[in-house]
Symmetry: C2
Subunit: 636 residues, 2 copies
């Protein structure tokens, strides 16, 4: 049942040897001919030469008269030349030069005479005011070299040069074969145990961006012969085959054995994390890759091991990824055995780029979507320390990151709504938020990692919110406490409240399963306080140690039936149509350091909080009270 | 017949007022719904929320046994807990958590007993080794905000969140109407006076890159009613209309009058060069632009005036263009009246980025294709001086420019072949060349503008090539004279030599029309010398002042019948199937400054010159002799 990895080969070595082997087996860019109008963005497969000159005829460059220049020789202020009407021909700009003519005189310099002739006070130089044949492009000249990308203006030059069809590199056709007994096509209504097959959609989109042509095959069950048949068919029809194994144990063995049977396997197991169980195989000159089933692992394998092959087949050296230096916000531990790829969120805080690691789970596709960059920790390195300057491979344009407001702190769906309105009202601005709880937010502000933190921290002594915490953690000031919303906290309960929970005390009841928020979150601090006030020993509450990171995920657990109650805000309960027992209204503020307050982007965010749209949207969500959002309560 | 411009309004003002007016008239982004698999690269029209949780069921995160955690409480090294086979269920990774269970124990920690039960030496915490519902995405959470670009991983997150169709901004449909009596569809065999219609192909490709959907209409002749009908039809079918007037006089008046009649015109005439005769019009909420006919003018107008409109309709703030500082290589004069857009070639020479202006002709589409960047000279500025540091808007990635070998000097088609082979052998490298003649090349090396210059300069005193010129212009050395090829120079003559030209002397014959190369070119120096040697007064040669910049364009003039003879290399004569009277074999060398010689890219170029492929290709072109290309003849 255990995985059998043959190798733990370093990434760079695997990449190079694999491509060399494929080229030795006969892999090469393929060619096709396309109409030039459809060639934008394609790559030339060979040098392209002009068939005709542009312009393809001698054209008048002015409105005026065309004539033989020699007839005007000797003309001057005092020695005008008179020409009969047979000696010249009237022309407009773009007209072909009439036979026997070799110059054009501008109409402004021509004096018309009564007999239909003209009088000239200056001689014409041969070939003046004429766009000569080939001024732009000469027949036989190279318009485009081999293996270059065709731009819009190149299309113009090609047509001007009489090239109407162009040999380009054929997009490599890539078969994607999803396998697995539990895998089902995308649906909005899956049964428990069904695993939605979305890897092929992610891989297809990546491949299209790189200039390949993906073809997704039907899902194949976990059966050696069926997988063998599918791979064999795919290799016959396509240039490259991806076998997307499921994640359950033993699956990769089928993949490896099938590929080995039909062709060969160079390596099974690469020293990267995530992505280790990759298989680098081939059937003759066709690459056949075994790609791990977890989406994040799959994406890394496709990026690191398939992309160089696609690049070669496209005849193109892709742009090198852009790297920036950033300060790491937290310690990161890495395995010595693997090169590790860690997704980070990045933004400019207090003048420096800060990189904050995201969830590492390889099943968590949303973390890839939220990632701004990738920290690559080399094999043999134990990790990186908080505050260390690290090199980050950018996944989004640096310019976007420079215009991103970072929120790290307490979770509330209103942050997403605020991000949405901010970007709608100020299209160049973005906002990214991570949910680490109110105390996590305060620490992030102290460490200079964030522009703002949502906080709602109850002072048990006097019943106030946030102020005393800020005073304690920022004894030298330098931050603003900014009003955001009041929100209703309470107990989210199974729809219909079948267990008749009516108070905090009831949470200790037999058969009642609680689901909690993580330590350090304002909501956890609140429930701890409420229990203490009721003299309730929290060890008596079943599930008190079960921690979720957002209001929404607490609500999702209750809605799924795996818990009966959890503390949270009204809007989350409403989202899942749960019963709700209101406990208190708390003050959700934004904590903003002075350095961030000055930023135009943060000021635009404050303005967005003051809009009617924001107020309306929060009313729709429910459970919020708005007084003067954006008002500075206190400047410390 | 003269153009009637109503205005000379500054670009920025025109841009802003136009967009404001269109929005006031009701222009807005439109929406459509697409399957999520086809949504990559599209822009969300509204915020998108998850329909289901991901995972959508509680899944085992390990291979092992599932059970109720409370049954294991109290287990320890000395107090093992024994469970009957009814108390647990074996699960694999990904399996749904069985009813009544809330924990998974790894198979490694399970001791199987003979009765089918198991023994545990440690308690299970509730929810350990379980991927809980919503771990990745919770139902109701915002997956994507409004007006953001959909990435491959976002497609995965959407499908995981049960979103199978997604509202995106509909690509604005843009009608392109080519007009003009002489305009014909692309063909490789146009008649004199025909103007190939390729603007619509350039504009379509640009529009597609920006996310719009171009529709090219049939060519409309210069007829007010027909143009009116076409614009009216286009406005009914599309969101935006481009009326691509021809370049001949009076044409724009139709465009302006048609647009004014069907809707309104905000401005006719913008203070930009090229691009002045643009028309900013509208029919209700639909933008209708009059775009000048010269391709370069049209491209500038589309870029500067249409792109912001497309951007608005796409709901997207495009990436700001990248600017770099570069040293200008030559003086540039600009009109005070206009903001001028000047195309430049750019590369890093001797540690600094150098920008060399390209041909300004607005009919010259090849110069746009060759441009690396754009120098924008503000309205009210007289120009820029050589050596001045200027800001260049990049048209190619900076990384490509950093890897471009620059050749400025004498023209030879072998340079294009060399560029082609260099890029094929070293995909990250490019080579760009400008043709300014041998003396121009020497000056470019002196000014530090180029990595190398092709030169073939005859010393009339001793019959040697290049050496004495290098000594004179580089008295302090610092350059290498590198062997390239020997090439046959001679007289290119009309096919069949009907005028029986048999010597240089014959060029002065009656009825013989010569076409020359520009002053400073090695070939001009050669013909000047040959005439002097024959005591031939060049003023007696008709057309001696008619100057072309390349061998190929001289050949093109002779082939077109507008000249009878011209000095040039054998390969150019052969390309046009002309007669050829060999005069001498000259030495075509490369002049390379020391700072460039050290560069890996230049060394790769030298290696490319030494390849068998280069030799073979030059044999195909004909008229070249190769001894040891790439050998340093002399280091000064």
């Amino acid at each position: 049942m255990a995985f059998q990895y043959l190798t733990n080969v370093p990434l760079q070595q695997a990449k190079e040897e694999y491509l060399q082997l494929l080229i030795k087996n006969g892999l090469q860019p393929e060619e096709e001919t396309v109409p030039v109008q459809e060639a934008c963005g394609r790559i030339t497969s060979q040098a392209v030469y002009a068939h005709i000159c542009a312009p393809h005829y001698h054209a008048s460059a002015m409105d005026g008269i065309a004539l033989k220049a020699s007839k005007t020789f000797g003309a001057g202020e005092t020695t005008p030349v008179h020409l009969a009407k047979e000696d010249y021909i009237t022309v407009d700009t773009g007209d072909p030069l009439p036979e026997g003519c070799d110059a054009v005189i501008m109409i402004e310099d021509v004096i018309e005479e009564e007999n239909g002739g003209v009088c000239l006070y200056a001689p014409a130089a041969p070939w003046q005011h004429i766009r000569q044949i080939g001024e732009d492009i000469c027949a036989g000249e190279m318009i485009l070299a081999s293996h270059v990308k065709i731009s819009p203006s190149a299309i113009g030059a090609l047509i001007a040069g009489g090239v109407l069809e162009i040999p380009v590199i054929r997009r490599p056709r890539v078969a994607i074969i999803p396998t697995g007994d539990e895998i089902i096509p995308p649906t909005a209504d899956p049964a428990p145990g069904d695993i939605l097959e979305f890897n092929s959609s992610i891989f297809s989109a990546m491949l299209r961006e790189w200039g390949a042509d993906p073809v997704t095959f039907p899902i194949v069950p976990d059966d050696f012969d069926k997988i063998r048949q599918a791979v064999s068919d795919a290799a016959a029809q396509c240039d490259i085959v991806l076998l997307n194994a499921g994640s359950s144990a033993g699956r990769e063995d089928y993949s490896k054995d099938v590929i080995a049977k039909l062709g060969g396997v160079l390596y099974h197991g690469i020293a990267i994390k995530p992505g280790k169980p990759a298989i680098l195989g081939y059937i003759q000159n066709k690459p056949v890759l075994g790609v791990p089933g977890y989406p994040v692992s799959g994406i890394i394998v496709i990026e690191e091991l398939l992309k160089p092959v696609i690049e070669y087949c496209c005849g193109l050296k892709f742009q090198r990824p852009q790297y920036v230096q950033a300060v790491l916000s937290r310690n990161v531990v890495s395995s010595l055995k693997y090169q590790e790829f860690l997704r980070v969120q990045t933004g400019r805080v207090n003048g420096r780029l800060v990189a904050s690691p995201l969830n590492r789970g390889s099943g968590v596709v949303s973390s890839f979507m939220k990632a701004d960059g990738m920290l690559e920790i080399p094999q043999g390195c134990e990790g990186c320390e908080a505050g260390e300057e690290v090199s980050i491979r950018l996944l989004r344009p640096l310019e976007d990151l420079e215009h991103t407001v970072i929120a790290i702190g307490s979770h509330d769906p209103l942050l997403d709504e605020l991000a949405n309105l901010l970007h709608l009202n100020y299209p160049e601005l973005y906002m990214s938020s991570s949910h680490v709880g109110s105390m996590g937010g305060i620490m992030a502000v102290r460490r200079g990692e964030t522009h703002l933190a949502g906080i709602h921290l109850l002072d048990e002594q006097d019943g106030t919110y946030n102020t005393s915490y800020i005073k304690k953690h920022f004894p030298n000031g330098g931050v603003r406490q900014v009003e955001c919303v009041g929100r209703t906290q309470g107990l989210m309960l199974t729809r219909g409240n079948p267990l008749h929970i009516a108070s905090i005390k009831d949470l200790a009841g037999e058969n009642i399963r609680y689901v909690n928020r993580q330590k350090g979150s304002g909501t956890r601090i609140l429930i701890d306080y409420l229990c203490r006030k009721e003299n309730l020993d929290t060890s008596r509450i079943y599930g008190y140690d079960r921690e979720e990171f957002t209001h929404t995920s607490v609500a999702a657990q209750i809605a799924s039936g795996s818990a009966d109650a959890g503390m949270g805000i009204y809007s989350a309960a409403r989202l899942y149509d749960l019963d709700f027992l209101p406990i208190c209204t708390e003050q959700y503020d934004l904590l903003i350091p002075d350095s961030a307050w000055e930023l135009p982007a943060v000021q635009d965010l404050i303005r967005t909080m003051q809009t009617e749209e924001f107020r309306t949207r929060l009313e729709e969500l429910g459970g919020y009270s708005l007084d003067q959002p954006g008002r500075v309560r206190q400047h410390f």
